[in-house]
Symmetry: C2
Subunit: 195 residues, 2 copies
DNA sequence: CAGAAGTCTGACCGATCGGTCAGGCTCTGA
DNA sequence: TCAGAGCCTGACCGATCGGTCAGACTTCTG
């Protein structure tokens, strides 16, 4: 059976997206993808140079949006950076729930691959922005917990429509982020031991 | 070379912990562990029935603490459940940073294995408790984002001492969790479309 | 009609995985 | 002294992985 180029190409991409979401990148073999499409493993490797190229093409749209967000963050400081980072990342996470779920937990290894080398730097800058470029541990911790948690959680809420999920996440982030413009948010914690 | 039982056993366990933390469970082979210990792969499999048993023994302490927390949560409702869940999970996450990092992202597959079958249910109950047993989407989302984010983030802050990390996380969780005892926290969201 | 281009496949490759097994080694106690 | 228990290993196994390759088939084009 011979199909139009774009047809098989797209079917492989769609099957890979589903399989990666369920089993992760490593947990999915080219044979699994070929089986779902109904072609041979060699056909998958005819349309894509290798497994990594398949992943790269799958991630391209999300990465593009992430880069745009990175550009918009340059020059911003304090709560302005926090707000733009919050809105931008929440929107990105909701729109690309599936793609982000794929990377779930496989970030460290995947980021070593050349196609994704720069993403680590971008996400570091995103975290700094969400922390209002503060170096207080509380701000850094809150920013990382929120970014990681949203990435992880988005894929789970498949039953919640985009609008509702986006609004709830944005409310959460605004509530949870450590304010940086105010001198200090009246620390009500139990004890402070600055080592 | 022949060592005392407990010695090699412990060395394998320690090496596995390090490797799993860096490369994940799947990403670490028995050969990798054996190489770090300085023994053969067969020796690893002499001390542990199989790879899964190695992981189970590594996780046992953390799982025990998780079960204790689960017990303490039974019967609690509202903000009381939230507070106990917050304190208990933050403490657990900080104490067992490394163990939790191992499971990072490999939860879905690992939870299928019989040794970890019950953990999914416990973590579901933990999430419900942190949401104050509310079924409002905002509360559920906040709880999941916080649990996932803390799990993910703890392993990254190796430079922050336990006390400080614990205090910062607890402050964050208390600030971020959606209050449930008050009738409704003055919803400032854009629009509510109850489908 | 000839042949070039594009699409697809089965057979195969080397590498690596988790796991097994027979046997060698050291130490201990009768 | 010697048998047995405990510890350890090299060699090996079947399965699976990502990837290659020659060739078959269809479609387009001059």
């Amino acid at each position: 059976m011979v199909r139009a180029v774009s047809e098989t190409h797209g079917e492989i991409l769609a099957a890979a997206a589903r399989q990666f979401t369920v089993s992760g990148y490593r947990g999915t073999s080219l044979q699994d993808i070929a089986r779902e499409v109904g072609c041979s493993k060699a056909t998958v490797l005819y349309h894509f140079a290798n497994k990594e190229a398949l992943l790269a093409e799958l991630m391209a749209p999300a990465i593009g949006v992430l880069r745009d967000l990175d550009d918009r963050l340059t020059g911003l400081t304090g709560s302005a950076a926090q707000e733009v980072a919050a809105q931008g990342f929440v929107d990105l996470a909701v729109r690309f729930r599936r793609e982000i779920a794929v990377l779930r937990g496989e970030f460290p290894e995947l980021l070593c691959q050349p196609a994704f080398a720069h993403i680590q730097q971008i996400s570091d800058r995103l975290r700094d922005a969400l922390a209002g470029h503060s170096d207080r541990p509380g701000a850094r911790i809150a920013a990382l917990v929120l970014l990681a948690g949203i990435s992880e959680a988005c894929g789970e809420f498949t039953d919640i429509p985009d609008d509702e999920l986006r609004a709830a996440l944005l409310t959460l982030v605004r509530r949870a982020v450590e304010p940086v413009d105010a001198p200090l948010p009246q620390p009500p914690t139990t004890e402070d031991k600055d080592s």
